[in-house]
């Protein structure tokens, strides 16, 4: 019955307290959300954690969605920001944990586990700088440059430049791998 209703309408109904609308909306967007989370983080466990963070907080955040942008754009912005936050936390953790016994060991073991799971593309994307990776993840997710610019809060030109930079990096990486 809700299949024809747009994401935006569902989101506004959910913001007004309609639980069924909220469930339907989340069912609809969950897979895309998880996909983006995976592209942003580069590992399944990380992506699951990130998705969980967002799911847990989404009900509270939703009251702020007033339908002035596409729901997917809004949700992607939420996701990208949450991913930034996680990265920042991990960066400070790994800095602090360097050489600090068990925590460091646990972290390394975890990093090894995940690296076994990803293929070369993910590994290559992880090699990119954070801003390039975010941009690429969005554009690969059928976002236009304009939409990605909106989500990341930079100009469209910057997005185009970042994409070409990212492509250069990936091409260079592939070239090295082909040679070996």
């Amino acid at each position: 019955m809700r299949m024809d209703t747009s994401d935006e309408t569902l989101a506004q109904a959910a913001a007004a307290g309609d639980a069924a609308a909220f469930s339907a909306l989340l069912q609809r967007v969950y897979d895309r959300l998880f996909g983006l989370a995976f592209r942003l983080t580069g590992s399944r466990t990380e992506a699951e954690d990130l998705t969980q963070d967002i799911c847990a907080a989404l009900p509270g955040k939703l009251s702020g969605f007033r339908g002035q942008s596409r729901f997917s754009t809004w949700l992607y912005r939420v996701t990208v920001n949450a991913a930034h936050d996680r990265r920042r936390r991990q960066a400070s953790h790994s800095k602090a944990a360097d050489g600090w016994g068990d925590w460091e060991l646990a972290r390394r073991a975890e990093a090894e586990e995940t690296s076994e799971q990803v293929d070369w593309l993910m590994a290559a994307m992880r090699g990119l700088k954070d801003d390039l990776r975010d941009t690429l993840a969005l554009v690969l997710d059928e976002m236009t440059h304009a939409e990605a610019a909106d989500i990341l809060g930079v100009s469209e030109g910057t997005i185009s430049w970042r994409i070409s930079e990212a492509k250069k990096h990936l091409a260079a990486l592939r070239a090295t791998e082909d040679r070996t």
Partner: protein, 640 residues
């Protein structure tokens, strides 16, 4: 090029896994539950400014302490991660880019609230989510309209700034808390109104451990925990240009008044105490007992190996009639080196080098043995001191910290003092270190590098080891006719009751040979626009001793070994010349307060602190001040 991108898209599609159905179901259930909770609690939720009792980290730390398996840690970390996104103002803002223009004040209030809420963390994740989500429901201001890209760019920049303001790194970075560090500190000394409370009393503090901890944090790329910052210890880390005491005097106090860098309408009163430097040749023989923590946790490059190097440096400073013993504690306490004259350098060095880390920590047993060795070494006119070197881990044996403090205090009465050297980070128990050193009439220093060992154990050895005045207390009475308000900067952990000043039974800090102590008051003159409180309508102007006096300084101390104190008094007048390097002390005071996020600095920031410190570097023969400027620059970058 488009083909490339299409290839990438296809590859990415293939690489992206399908979500795990079980995980997905769990996430959806969580979201739905939170949604339902949010609807139910919408009416009841109220923001309030009351800060719930209990600290943010006590709960988390307890949780880590009780859950030590890897699985447990992973599970709890996941809960913390969720909680941080949900509970912390940072998480909330991350997920709602609309309300960036909300003033920082509101953020802080919410931060307080979120901090209190975090105590419920140990409960289940579901229980947590409930109180967490109440706030946003009522707190969300109306959204900004869809903005053009340019405006968004500005906003995403403010996002970063707002985040830093709302949630300092130590708040949103839960993982470093996996260690078990504990820091002693209290809230900033509040502003006092002279008419109501004209007298301020505190014990002096010659420790410098806090500065080294701050330096270690910053050079590791992290802002130090707020509680690790004790402003007075940072100020006291640096030597200032105080006049030396006259012959026969134990120390000399200097008072100066200068403008406050962060507030044009207030003044800084700087009280400086310079201890006398007795001729090293005439000093009494010294009996040192090194009490070395050799527990397993000491087995890291910046702990036991650094300790060995540090003690070797110190040996060079001892004289032939001094004696050294080494006691270790690790599971069982043991005397590694019987009392040996310092002239037998080789014997001492080889005993040091044989030290090996392993086993658990039993601090108390070792301490008792060290004291009994020290008692055995006591002779006519000798000084005994136990130097405890540890990473702060008193896991086993310290079931009752109070009993240990009493033990040390009792030994202090019998003439054996205790100094504590902290090594390494991770489970540095700063609070216990402080407590032990304060009760043992010694200093607590934190050694993070060999050059710090050089400063503490070589350059300032005589000060660290030879007390020239015990129980030094400072009492300042401000004149309400001249000073409307005052605030002691730092010394939060050293406050004394007014009546304790004249009570010689109450313990206070000691001054070693050649040491310096600095205390800063920020005062607001009567009629100054900076006055934060309104005068009492029915208040009586109290009697005025001398119209020109800002206040009156009283200082009590005991000569070592004596039980009756002596009193030094001097008036503080507005026309006292400013100390030549007052600017540097003020810059460091500003540095410490910025790290503590003190509210008194207004918009005086890192740039001002750096400029002020740079302008007042003076001679700086050891390069300490240049290093401080570097640290300020680091802290500035990290706090962005």
């Amino acid at each position: 090029m488009t083909d490339d991108l299409d290839d990438l898209k296809a590859a990415m599609k293939a690489a992206t896994p399908r979500p795990d159905p079980a995980v997905k179901a769990a996430h959806l259930a969580l979201a739905e539950k939170n949604f339902a909770d949010l609807q139910g609690s919408r009416d009841g939720a109220r923001l309030n400014s009351d800060r719930p009792r209990g600290g943010l980290w006590s709960g988390v730390r307890k949780m880590f302490a009780t859950m030590t398996t890897r699985g447990g840690l992973v599970a709890t970390t996941a809960i913390v991660a969720v909680a941080f996104v949900v509970l912390s103002p940072a998480g909330r803002d991350l997920l709602s880019p609309r309300d960036l223009t909300r003033p920082a004040v509101v953020e802080e209030r919410e931060a307080d609230e979120a901090m209190g809420l975090q105590d419920t963390l140990q409960e289940t994740a579901e229980q947590m989510a409930e109180p967490a989500l109440e706030a946003p429901a009522v707190a969300m201001p109306s959204p900004a309209p869809q903005a053009p890209a340019a405006e968004l760019a500005t906003r995403s920049r403010t996002l970063g700034q707002t985040l830093m303001k709302a949630a300092p790194a130590d708040m949103i970075a839960p993982l470093p808390e996996a260690d078990t560090e504990a820091f002693a500190n209290a809230s900033d000394n509040p502003l006092k109104i002279t008419a109501e409370e004209p007298i301020s009393t505190f014990s002096i503090d010659v420790d410098t451990a806090s500065y080294a901890v701050v330096r270690n944090s910053l050079t590791n790329g992290q802002l130090p925990p707020k509680d690790a910052v004790r402003v007075e210890e940072m100020i006291n880390y640096f030597p200032y240009d105080y006049p030396t005491p006259a012959a026969g005097e134990a120390f000399r106090s200097t008072v100066s008044v200068s403008p406050t860098p962060w507030n044009a309408d207030t003044r800084l009163v700087q009280i400086g105490i310079q201890g006398a430097t007795p001729e090293t040749d005439s000093r009494p023989p010294l009996n040192l007992v090194f009490l070395v923590d050799t527990s397993g946790s000491m087995n890291q490059p910046d702990k036991l190996p650094l300790l060995k190097q540090s003690f070797a440096l110190m040996l060079g400073q001892l004289r032939a009639e001094d004696r050294v013993a080494i006691v270790t504690y690790a599971g069982s306490a043991g005397e590694v080196l019987a009392p040996t004259p310092a002239s037998e350098r080789e014997t001492i060095l080889s005993a040091l080098n044989r030290l090996d880390a392993g086993g658990s920590t039993a601090g108390q047993e070792g301490l008792q043995q060290a004291y009994s060795v020290a008692d055995g070494m006591a002779g006519d006119g000798t000084l005994q001191r136990v130097i405890l070197a540890t990473d702060g881990d008193f896991n086993v044996g310290l079931s009752d910290p109070e009993a240990l403090k009493d033990f040390i205090a009792q030994k202090r009465e019998s003439g054996t003092y205790l100094s504590v050297l902290g090594f390494g980070r991770g489970n540095l128990d700063d609070a216990t270190m402080q407590a032990l050193a304060q009760n043992g009439n010694g200093t607590a220093a934190y050694i993070d590098t060999l050059s710090e060992a050089q400063k503490v154990l070589v350059d300032q050895l005589s000060g660290a080891l030879f007390p020239i005045a015990d129980d030094v207390k400072i009492q300042v009475e401000f004149n309400p006719a001249q000073v409307a308000e005052y605030r002691l900067i730092g010394y939060e952990t050293r406050a004394l009751r007014r009546e304790d000043f004249n009570n010689d039974k109450v313990d206070a800090g000691e001054i070693g040979a050649g040491t310096q102590v600095t205390a800063l008051y920020e005062i607001t003159p009567v009629g100054s626009p900076a006055q934060l409180t309104d005068p009492l309508r029915y208040g009586q102007a109290t009697t005025v001793a001398g119209p020109d006096e800002l206040g009156f300084l009283r200082l009590r101390y005991k000569a070592p070994g004596e039980s009756d104190s002596k009193l030094i008094e001097m008036p503080i007048t507005a026309d006292l010349p400013a100390q030549a390097d007052a600017g540097f002390a003020a810059a460091i005071a500003g540095f410490g307060q910025l790290l503590r996020e003190s509210t008194y600095l207004d918009d005086w920031g890192w740039d001002d602190a750096i400029a002020l410190a740079n302008a007042n570097r003076g001679e700086d023969p050891f390069g300490y001040r240049a290093e401080a400027v570097q640290l300020m620059r680091l802290a500035q970058s990290l706090s962005r």
